[in-house]
Amino acid sequence: MSVQQQALPLSGFASPDTGRYRGDHLLVAEMVERGSKVLDVGCGDGDLLLLLESRGIDGRGIELSREGVNHCVAKGLAVVQGDADTDLVNYPDDAFDYVILSQTLQATRRPRLVLENLLRIGRRAIVSFPNFGFWKMRLQLLVGGHMPRTENLPATWYDTPNIHFCTIKDFVQLCDEINVKMERAVALDLYGRPLRLNAPWWFWNMFGEQGVFLLSRAEKGR
């Protein structure tokens, strides 16, 4: 694999915020520079946006459910009801410093197109997704012979919104294919804690419950 995993400063985990926010949110927030402009695609109830705004970041959101939009608006957030598959095309180039897609890529109809749009709209993208190569998934298929269900992905195969599962390995391969530069990569375990940084990719692909990637556009002509 051509891309190296890189070290990530994880000072956020030691901050007093820790208890109030989700582990993956703190990790994402650590990746965003202060004073930047961020679009959170699939922002849910706006918890990540609130965390970002508390750190002086100008945040905007897109959320599919009206209830989610309502919760966000009540928190004073600027959130638009919309869909990653259909609405990202309407945002102009370079509108944001970062575009975040948290646990949503696997639920889009055209993940590759969505990924390309993220990096058109934003100079950088932060993408997190459940790793289908996680050992619990593999074990359920191998031994149980049924579609995997986990604590974080409890839906049955017939009612899951997740239609495009991938492994960390698959995702890295896609980034290579569409000429996306991976600036940072982190794998989190089932409890949202980062795995050892010096672990090999196969270890991440086996023991990472989710992957979090900071991406940017590769230089042209490479």
């Binding site: 905007r60 309502n70 919760h71 608006v73 928190k75 004073g76 600027a78 638009v80 009801q81 945002y91």
Partner: protein
């Protein structure tokens, strides 16, 4: 001969309406020769007056004022008994103590638009130069003209910045125009079921309505006041056609289906056999009691001309560049007059200009009129938006 039944004559006489046009049962702000209203058509309208209602108290900081904009056939009587019809205000569900537009917290203003017929200067008003009703001598007005007049009223009331600009349909157009024209004077805006430009289909419906009015022999080239006639049939037909566009197929079906009106069998006539016919005729006849036909022509025209982007080389985002106003745009799924796609276009432009905008599409089968009806999801988002904007504005619970 087959039995025919047309729209009945209005129960309320036109004199009563005419009186309300010059001497409204509202507050009136008079603007004399030294303060003309500069209209887009190039004419300075002077003197002119604005009729308005207020609810709640302006706080000491003058920071809690909400300006509500009424729709095409609405007026300033938002939350009080209407002086002509005796009915409740048109937005009682939204405005009042504890309601989303909480009169215990906010100072709420609604003015009759310029060109209207409920006390702001319009074609039904008396032209001071001639002593006669303006009629078609009244200059063509636009949505920006209405907004310019409102800004003069807000100046007169000593308010520098509105806490919020709120309106649906034509009212939403005014909220957007306020935001584009006076971005530093609008802290937040809630444009509902509207658009930044009137669509071809909507212009077509308006033209249908205008032609219905003008085809009525009682219209008399717009001089019906002087000639003692009332084009209530033409205006009634215009209202009936327009009213269909405010509803939806699903809502009409749910409300009326093919049910008969006070009969079990068809009468084999052009009588109002179906409930939906009877309902539309009622809508037509009750409308003409309170609305002036010429005013209907002028206001529909103002909506037709509305196109914010046109003033910015066709680039809508330019109209909103750099604005600090917080916006919440709301649309309704079954609204086919101002469909969600129109609201999305507003949101895309606002996003492109970097504005702080939220957007929600409310699921309902009640069509365009949903913004006037009891739709809890709409109240929820409005309340959520105003409360968070109020917190950002430093407004406290007791209106301070």
């Amino acid at each position: 001969m087959v039995n025919v039944q047309s729209i009945p004559s209005p129960a309320i006489h036109s004199e009563e309406r005419a009186h309300e046009a010059d001497h409204p049962s509202s507050h009136v702000a008079l603007f004399g020769a030294e303060q003309p209203l500069k209209l887009d058509c190039g004419i300075d309208l002077s003197p002119f007056q604005i009729a308005y209602q207020t609810y709640g108290q302006l706080n000491a900081e003058r920071s809690n004022a909400i300006l509500i904009f009424h729709a095409l056939t609405g007026d300033q009587h938002v939350a009080n008994i209407h002086p002509v019809t005796g009915k409740l205000g048109w937005w009682e569900t939204m405005v009042g103590p504890g309601r989303p537009l909480d009169t215990d917290r906010y100072f709420i203003i609604c003015s009759n638009v310029i060109g209207g017929c409920m006390g702001s200067t319009g074609p039904a008003s008396t032209n001071p130069a001639t002593g006669k009703v303006w009629g078609l001598d009244f200059p063509i007005i636009t949505i920006p003209d209405m907004v310019r007049a409102q800004a003069m009223l807000i100046d007169r009331l000593g308010i520098d910045t509105l806490f919020c600009a709120v309106g649906g349909s034509m009212g939403g157009m005014q909220a957007l125009q306020w935001t584009a024209a006076y971005p530093t004077r609008v802290f937040s805006a809630l444009p509902v079921a509207c658009s930044t430009r009137h669509s071809a289909q909507n212009i077509a419906f308006h033209e249908l309505g205008r032609q219905a009015v003008m085809a009525d022999p009682d219209w008399r080239g717009g001089r019906y006041f002087e000639q003692g006639t009332d084009p209530h049939r033409g205006l009634g037909v215009a209202r009936m056609a327009a009213h269909i566009t405010y509803l939806s197929d699903a809502a009409l079906h749910r409300k009326f289906g093919r049910r008969m009106q006070d009969r079990d069998l068809p009468t084999f006539s052009f009588d109002a056999d179906f409930q939906v016919e009877s309902y539309l005729r009622y809508q037509g006849s009750s409308f003409v009691e309170r609305f002036d036909a010429n005013s209907y022509l002028y206001l529909t025209r103002a909506m037709d001309y509305f196109d914010i982007a046109a003033d910015h080389d066709g680039v809508l985002a330019e109209a909103f560049r750099g604005i600090q106003t917080r916006l919440c745009v709301v649309s309704f799924t079954s609204d086919w007059l101002f469909p969600t796609s129109e609201s999305r276009a507003i949101v895309h432009a606002l996003n492109a200009s970097g504005a702080r905008v939220s957007f929600a599409e409310i699921e309902t089968d009640r069509g365009h009129d949903a913004f006037l009806l009891d739709v809890p999801e709409f109240f929820d988002i409005s309340r959520a938006f105003l409360e968070s904007a109020g917190a950002a504005r430093g407004l406290t619970r007791n209106g301070g």
